[in-house]
């Protein structure tokens, strides 16, 4: 690798290293690409030390009269306004505000004069910091990736056409490795400029509230006055960042900038976008994924008033009309014939049966772990405890159905909508219609949820809208119905696992084995936190006709349920308290143990509960963050569970915006509970059975815990993610609570009616 100054992704992935400890062995390319669909789908945080071409491009795109751009990522106007460009999309996770806080803190800017805007979907705004860290995390070669020269990383990032939002990565990577460094470097340039102007040594100057201050003479200069000169200076690539005690904005509860427009109806989402002369279209794709359109008689749709055109794609039919209602009436009038792509026998029971067969008679595709589990099981004789778990396909069900506006005119394709990687969207659109990516313009818009569904790699609406636009002379907005959304998701995979373990004579776990069946290998993404001498994790690869999609927290959802349910079973088998049993398998003084202790303390673990109420605990580390949750629950007369209270303790290193982080964790718990209680996508004859919120029930307010107690432990650990890690412990914490309430162990989700004893 050292011989090649321009490594490509495969080489990086494959490169061995003897200088860096490799923690995550056996990573495979498909995990790298799919488990984190993130990376290649993804986007770029611009290299902060951008090359000149990228810099001038960024300036042209973002900087007007009286404004001065720094490092592509921010500009200062002469009225002191600082504008930060976020390469990440904000779909409610509060990233824009947090990134602005991080840059403004290092810059010592007056927060009232800081704006955060969406960076253009241009390769000039690529995210080196994110790609570098992400490559490290996903390949298991962090040292190697970090050692790559910045210029190589920049070229690599841009060449991959990446501008993602995902992997709970924005704040911990872009913020830490990008925004803070930019803010600190620009602050130094402003000080140098002020030192020259005031004729004093830089060491006598301080900064605060967007001013450089010379306390000795009582003079000061505003950032707006200094910006023009500072922008001409060369910037340091290694400025010293503030230590925690000096933070003015990081760690403070800052209100989010996007909220006012979301309470008065003025926020414009992708589905709200409109253009003069625009038409609206809606679509029906083959009910069986993998099927093709065989034939359709267009006449019934064309007879509907307002319908203008029927467009046939390889696997779908689209109706174009004046408005959505006419388009949907036109579509309903059609009787298209589709093939089933040979998947007509695919069904939910058939998938579970095939997964069981594969696990029992097939060979694993990947094996990981430590020690000799087989020997430990043999030594234990017949005393191996085992249990089988099953989880269904889960749908993202983002509240804003997919909508994308496209206009093909004069050789250019222009698109407007919300996707988790604007540059990746351009790339996919260009490929779908055989155009050059340079001729595709994408305007990122606010998204009504995403949760992983809006990565271009899994967003076929990009192909559909691009192909549609090539066939009509006017701009057209393609809107999916909720039924289309439910039935053509890219789901969290249906998967199953057999967990097995033995206990030694002191009641400790001697060996632990997890045999799991799903499309992708989860190794490298899902860790095992307990101190057990022999562990084995075997992945059996099984794919269906569905496209596995990254669903909020990805593989940690099902593996959090498997591991944290099974360790609960082991605790009961050992006759021990589930909290104490977990605790003794975590290293003394570890972050995990502290998080677990704190959630036990805050939830009153061990205190008496009313009859019929149970308390369950679970702890999962994902995306660099440790979360422990305690749920109190009971079972209603109709057999459905009722969650009474929820507690979460979180160690994500440093919390940038506690007000927002609390909402992310609480929302994650509710999404996890919703999936656990009610959500399942099922297949019959290859097609999805569910159609809308009536048969894909999302948890409602009345069934959510009225109050969720979220507590953060600040630690010196590297910053972890916050958008996803709240989800994974929720399933097991609830199932464990219901076991305490009813004595019935739940091993198949969703639990719906099973909860009754």
């Amino acid at each position: 690798m050292a011989d090649n100054p321009n490594p490509n992704l495969e080489e990086i992935e494959a490169a061995p290293t003897d200088t860096t400890p490799v923690k995550k062995k056996g990573i495979k390319r498909r995990i790298f690409l799919a488990g984190a669909a993130l990376l290649v789908g993804g986007g770029v945080f611009g290299l902060y030390w951008a090359d000149n071409a990228a810099k001038s491009r960024a300036r042209a795109l973002t900087t007007g009269e009286g404004e001065h751009n720094f490092l592509t990522w921010m500009k200062i106007a002469e009225d002191d306004t600082v504008t930060v460009f976020s390469p990440h999309i904000d779909f409610g996770q509060g990233t824009h505000t947090a990134l602005g806080q991080m840059l403004a803190d290092e810059l010592d800017a007056d927060w009232a004069k800081v704006k955060v805007e969406q960076a253009p979907s241009d390769v000039a705004f690529s995210n080196t910091a994110l790609v570098e860290k992400f490559l490290g995390e996903m390949t298991g070669y962090p040292g190697l990736i970090a050692a790559l020269p910045a210029a190589v990383m920049g070229a690599l990032t841009r060449s991959q056409k990446i501008q993602i939002t995902g992997g709970s990565s924005a704040v911990r990577f872009t913020g830490q490795g990008g925004m803070r460094v930019v803010g600190a470097a620009v602050r130094l340039a402003l000080i140098e400029e002020a030192a020259d102007r005031l004729g004093v040594p830089a060491s006598e100057l301080t900064t605060a509230d967007s001013k450089v201050i010379h306390a000795a003479s009582g003079r000061s200069l505003r950032y707006g006055e200094l910006a023009a000169g500072a922008a001409e200076r060369s910037l340091r690539s290694d400025p010293v960042l503030k230590s925690r005690k000096d933070y003015r904005l990081i760690g403070k509860p800052v209100t989010r900038r996007d909220i006012p427009a979301k309470v008065d109806g003025s926020a414009v989402y992708g589905i709200d976008f409109t253009l003069p002369d625009m038409r609206v279209a809606t679509i029906a794709a083959a009910p069986v994924r993998g099927g093709k359109l065989i034939s359709v008689d267009e006449a019934p749709a064309l007879a509907v008033p307002g319908v203008e055109k029927v467009v046939k794609l390889d696997d779908a039919v689209i109706v174009v009309a004046k408005g959505y209602w006419q388009a949907s009436k036109g579509l309903a009038a059609l009787s298209p014939k589709f093939s089933d792509g040979g998947h007509g026998a695919m069904s939910t029971p058939a998938i579970y049966a095939a997964q069981d067969r594969l696990r029992e008679t097939g060979k694993p595709d990947n094996t990981a772990g430590e020690g000799d589990v087989a020997a430990a099981f043999k030594a234990a004789g017949g005393k191996v405890i085992s249990a089988d778990y099953r989880v269904p396909f889960l749908h993202h069900a983002m509240m804003e159905p997919f909508a994308l506006t496209a206009h093909f005119k004069s050789g250019k394709l222009e698109m407007w909508g919300g996707l988790q990687d604007p540059i990746g969207a351009r790339d996919r659109a260009a490929k779908a219609v055989g155009m050059d990516m340079e001729d595709v313009i994408f305007h990122p818009m606010i998204m009504g949820g995403g949760f992983g569904r809006r990565f271009p790699g899994v967003a076929e609406i990009i192909d559909q809208a691009a192909q549609l636009a090539r066939q009509v002379p006017y701009p057209v907005k393609l809107v999916w119905s909720r039924e289309e959304d439910l039935r053509h998701g890219t789901y969290r995979p249906q998967s199953s696992a057999r967990l097995a373990a033995t206990l030694d004579d002191k009641g400790r776990i001697a060996a632990w084995q997890s045999d799991y069946v799903q499309g992708d290998n989860a190794e490298g993404e899902v860790g095992f936190i307990y101190d057990v001498p022999a562990t084995s994790r075997r992945h059996f690869a099984y794919t269906t006709n569905q496209i596995d999609g990254p669903w909020r927290s990805v593989n940690s959802t099902q593996h959090g349920f498997y591991n944290e349910s099974f360790i609960d079973e082991l605790a009961h088998a050992a006759g021990e308290d589930p909290y104490r049993f977990r605790r003794k398998h975590l290293p003394d003084g570890s972050r995990h143990q502290k998080v677990l202790d704190e959630v036990a303390r805050r939830s009153g673990w061990g205190t008496p509960l009313p009859a019929g109420v149970g308390r369950g605990i679970a702890i999962v580390e994902s995306f660099g963050t440790i979360v422990a949750e305690v749920i109190e629950a009971t079972v209603k007369d109709d057999g459905t569970p009722k969650v009474l209270k929820a507690f979460a303790v979180v160690d994500c290193g440093t919390t940038v915006n506690p007000l927002n982080a609390e909402a992310q964790i609480a929302g994650g718990i509710i999404m996890g509970l919703s999936a656990t209680i009610g959500e399942a996508i099922t297949l019959d004859q290859g097609a999805v059975v569910e159609s809308n919120f009536t048969d894909y029930p999302i948890l409602r307010l009345a069934d959510a815990p009225p109050l969720i107690d979220v507590h953060f432990i600040e630690s010196d650990a590297p910053m972890g993610g916050i958008g996803e890690p709240g989800v994974p412990p929720a399933s097991a914490a609830l199932a464990n609570a219901l076991f305490m309430a009813t004595g019935k162990r739940i091993r198949t989700l969703p639990l719906r009616q099973q909860a009754k004893a």
Binding site: G92, D264, G323, M399, V479, N660, T694
Partner: protein, 164 residues
């Protein structure tokens, strides 16, 4: 055939097919896009508006049934001078929205609940607030409703004292 009604206090007349749901008339004819499309079958509440003061899921009401009636949308909640409704203010104070897509409907449902009950009980909140939020903002929605009604209660008490 033109259908006439009022939206946010203004007279409107639209030339839509009579079976067109009110939602699409608001969004596509009247450019009031604060009211959202979520499911099309009145299951999620994203399209909630008030019709003659009644909470209504506009995706499932044909515009022909709206003739002569008064519609209020999220855009019409604030006062003429631009002051936000107490519920909207409570929503900002509690930092409720995440993605925000469902929040117009949530706010319209909360306003209707408060207008109907004054200070709703927890049970009334559970019963009335059936709109789906995929981001899971429910605890803050509950908090905002309680805060908004606290303010309303105090304001009513103050005004009663002033009259006395």
């Amino acid at each position: 055939m033109a259908i006439s009604f009022t939206v946010n206090g203004k007279d409107v007349s639209v030339a839509a097919e009579p079976d067109t749901p009110l939602l699409w008339v608001l969004r596509e004819e009247l450019a009031l896009t604060g009211t959202k499309f979520g499911c099309g079958i009145a299951a999620c509440g994203a399209c909630s508006v008030h019709v003659d003061g009644q909470l209504t899921r506009s995706c499932s009401v044909p515009v022909s049934e709206i003739a002569g009636r008064a519609v209020t949308t999220i855009e019409g909640l604030k006062a003429e001078d631009g002051t936000l409704h107490a519920v909207q203010q409570a929503w900002i104070a509690a930092q409720v929205p995440q993605c925000g897509y469902c929040q117009s409907g949530q706010i319209m449902a909360a306003v209707a609940l408060i207008e109907r009950t004054g200070v709703p009980s927890e049970a009334q909140i559970d019963e009335a607030m059936t709109n789906i939020c995929r981001c899971g903002t429910y605890p803050r929605i509950r908090k905002a409703i309680l805060a908004a009604t606290g303010r309303a209660a105090r304001a009513a008490a103050a005004s009663a004292q002033g009259e006395a």
